[in-house]
């Protein structure tokens, strides 16, 4: 009985989370008025929407932009966060918890609240309508949480490991790069992935700080798709585009999920 309930609950959760994606796939395979027929699988599946997405606008360019911005943001965020978390997690200094709290509080502002300020900043730096501007502004929300998560992981690494390295003559830089970094692998994969997804999906900044089609990222490109007339929303194409940009994310998660769950520190200390 208990197992049955559990299975039912699981089924409900899976249905709830998977259904929208399933519906997007189904809709993307339909064309014309078939969109408005409720059916489990299109009677006449077609890839026309997928072709139209890439024909109607520089969608390939948008994907490339998103890829560049998201991976750039992940790379820089992780590099900064690893070094910052070593300082915040391992070095005792005055004002450490204040600093940690202020980093956290930065991420509490809603995007809209910082939008106009950031706009001025981006303009002043001459980064308007450039991918650099997007990368810079995305770090506002990726950095706080990468720093926080990595600091937590860093604190849990055994102190004696660091001390053994110190006795072996390792400098802080060597400790971070050659001892801690390999051990932080799972944490890096998890936080990096989350940062990537956030940057990949970001909409408001991308809409505000870019102007031309060739600088748009995927979410903006999808939102700005238009049909034959101003009054028609090309649902089929929107769905097709959504599927195209979601698949890489799912692939990433599947690739990294083993890294995320594996406990690499096993064997470092007793146990």
């Amino acid at each position: 009985m208990k197992r049955l309930l559990f299975a039912l609950l699981l089924a409900a959760i899976v249905f709830y989370t998977v259904f929208p994606f399933y519906w997007a796939i189904v809709s993307s395979l339909k064309s014309g008025s078939a969109l408005f027929i409720v059916e489990a699988w299109p009677a006449d599946p077609t890839l026309a929407n997928y072709a139209a997405v890439f024909r109607g606008q520089p969608f390939g360019r948008s994907i490339l932009n998103s890829l560049l911005v998201a991976s750039g943001v992940v790379g820089v965020s992780l590099a900064l966060a690893v070094t910052a978390s070593y300082a915040l997690g391992r070095v005792a200094f005055r004002g450490r918890s204040l600093l940690l709290l202020s980093i956290l509080s930065v991420s509490m502002f809603p995007q809209v609240a910082v939008l106009s300020g950031l706009f001025e900043l981006v303009r002043a730096l001459g980064l308007y309508n450039s991918l650099w501007g997007l990368g810079l502004t995305y770090m506002i929300f990726t950095l706080p949480f990468t720093v926080w998560v990595l600091t937590t992981f860093m604190r849990e690494l055994p102190r004696e490991l660091e001390e053994a390295a110190i006795v072996d003559g390792a400098t802080p830089w060597v400790i971070v790069t050659r001892i801690f970094l390999p051990l932080l692998g799972p944490a890096l994969a998890a936080t990096g992935l989350l940062a990537f997804i956030t940057a990949w999906n970001e909409f408001l900044f991308a809409l505000t700080f870019t102007l031309t089609d060739d600088r748009r990222t995927v979410p903006v490109a999808i939102a700005l798709m238009s049909g034959a007339s101003a009054f028609e929303l090309p649902w089929g194409q929107v769905m097709a585009a959504s599927v195209v940009v979601t698949v890489p994310l799912i692939a990433l998660v599947l690739v990294f999920q083993r890294r995320i769950v594996s406990g690499l520190t096993a064997g470092a200390v007793k146990g």
Binding site: E160, A164, V167, G169, G267, K270
Partner: protein
């Protein structure tokens, strides 16, 4: 190979002083064991020598040179940690080679040294494995190997065996003793296990609450404890400490009145105590004798009998409520409730002043000669007494 010298070393964490000015000389090639209850500061003292903590006062000298401001890697030390602290993502070989690689040692030298250390420790077959694929004892060997390849002047061990199970601990203890004979370097070893301390040490430093209670050879501490703390800390079961009163003092002995009315003349130097003073009588359970052979007896009633097979420990309650443990033969006929007179031999009994200081004995135990230097080269003729 180098001597280590501590001069008035002090250390506090925040406002809590953990090391209160320790002076200690660890000789070249000596195996020194720091022992004491948890929180006594023994690990902190080791970490001060390693340079993992900075002293708040005093000087630390290694090989005659002050190293107060020298980072750990520059002190010529190697440390074996309680948790082994092996780098989990590196193979055994990489673990052992890491320090040498950082010091830009030539590749073939690294290889030679790692192989040599692996041979000594019999872990040659494990060099390509990761730490997580090793057993506790193997990890411990790798940790020791990592220390050996650095060819340090001083080895520091921080409770290296306390994570192992009892049987393995005994085996590793013997291996460390063997290893010690092979590599011959100054070693400082922290433990809370008195068996490790007694069996491994050339000299033991007993610490309590951040102070040195006594430093000496194991037999010196066992037969001539300087105070009630050392007397109670070393030896198992712990020494019986009984309240007694001095009745007579002369040049040869101090006579004390025992609980239960007996008197015993103990051949110690009075050293300031006089008739009427309250003192503490110390008798190890192993040193009690049958009532017939005794210089004095403590009459009481057995309340617990612990039989270990080879020996039996009888817990005896005296008339005034004090408890005494006595060791008897394994097959002794005794049961809880029996009356038993615990016999004391004057030449193995200890006498401590009211504040816990031992009264020095006239004759030293033959095994408790002052520590002889370890290296044959530096050996001095044994002092005659």
């Amino acid at each position: 190979m180098a001597a280590v010298e501590l001069r008035g070393v002090r250390k506090a964490f925040g406002r809590t002083a953990v090391i209160h000015g320790i002076d200690l000389e660890i000789r070249d090639n000596e195996f020194m064991v720091f022992v004491g209850p948890s929180g006594c500061g023994k690990s902190t003292l080791l970490r001060l020598i390693a340079g993992l903590e900075d002293a708040d006062g005093g000087d630390i000298l290694i090989g005659g040179a002050e190293v107060n401001d020298v980072p750990p890697a520059g002190r010529g030390i190697a440390m074996v940690f309680q948790s082994y602290a092996l780098y989990p993502h590196m193979s055994v070989y990489e673990n052992m080679a890491f320090g040498l690689t950082l010091a830009r040692t030539a590749r073939h030298t690294v290889e030679d040294r790692v192989r040599a250390a692996a041979r000594t420790l019999r872990i040659e077959d494990l060099l390509h494995r990761k730490p997580r694929e090793l057993s506790g004892g193997q990890r411990q060997r790798v940790a020791i190997g990592r220390a050996i390849v650095r060819e340090p002047r001083v080895f520091l061990f921080d409770e290296p065996l306390s994570n192992l199970d009892a049987a393995l601990r005994v085996a590793m203890r013997i291996e460390i003793a063997e290893l010690r004979r092979q590599i011959g370097a100054t070693m400082v070893y922290v433990t809370h296990d008195q068996v490790e301390a007694m069996t491994l040490a050339d000299r033991i430093a007993v610490l309590n609450a951040g102070r040195l209670e006594q430093v000496g050879t194991p037999m010196d501490l066992y037969h001539h404890p300087a105070n009630t703390f050392v007397a109670g800390f070393l030896g198992s079961p712990r020494m019986n400490l009984l309240a007694a009163t001095v009745t007579d003092v002369n040049g040869a002995a101090v006579t004390a009145a025992l609980p239960g009315g007996g008197r015993v003349r103990i051949p110690v130097i009075a050293d300031g105590v006089s008739a009427g003073d309250g003192v503490t009588l110390g008798v190890r359970p192993q040193h009690t004798v049958p009532a017939g052979d005794a210089d004095a007896v403590l009459p009481g009633t057995v309340f617990v009998v612990e039989r270990l097979g080879a020996e039996t420990f009888c817990h005896v309650r005296l008339a005034d409520g004090q408890a005494v443990v006595t060791q008897a033969a394994g097959d002794v006929r005794v049961a809880a409730g029996d009356p038993l007179a615990v016999g004391i031999a004057a030449d193995t009994a200890h006498l401590f002043t009211g504040d816990g200081r031992a009264l020095p004995r006239h004759r030293r135990h033959p095994l408790a000669e002052p520590p002889a230097p370890v290296t044959p080269a530096a050996a001095a003729p044994p002092p005659s007494r």
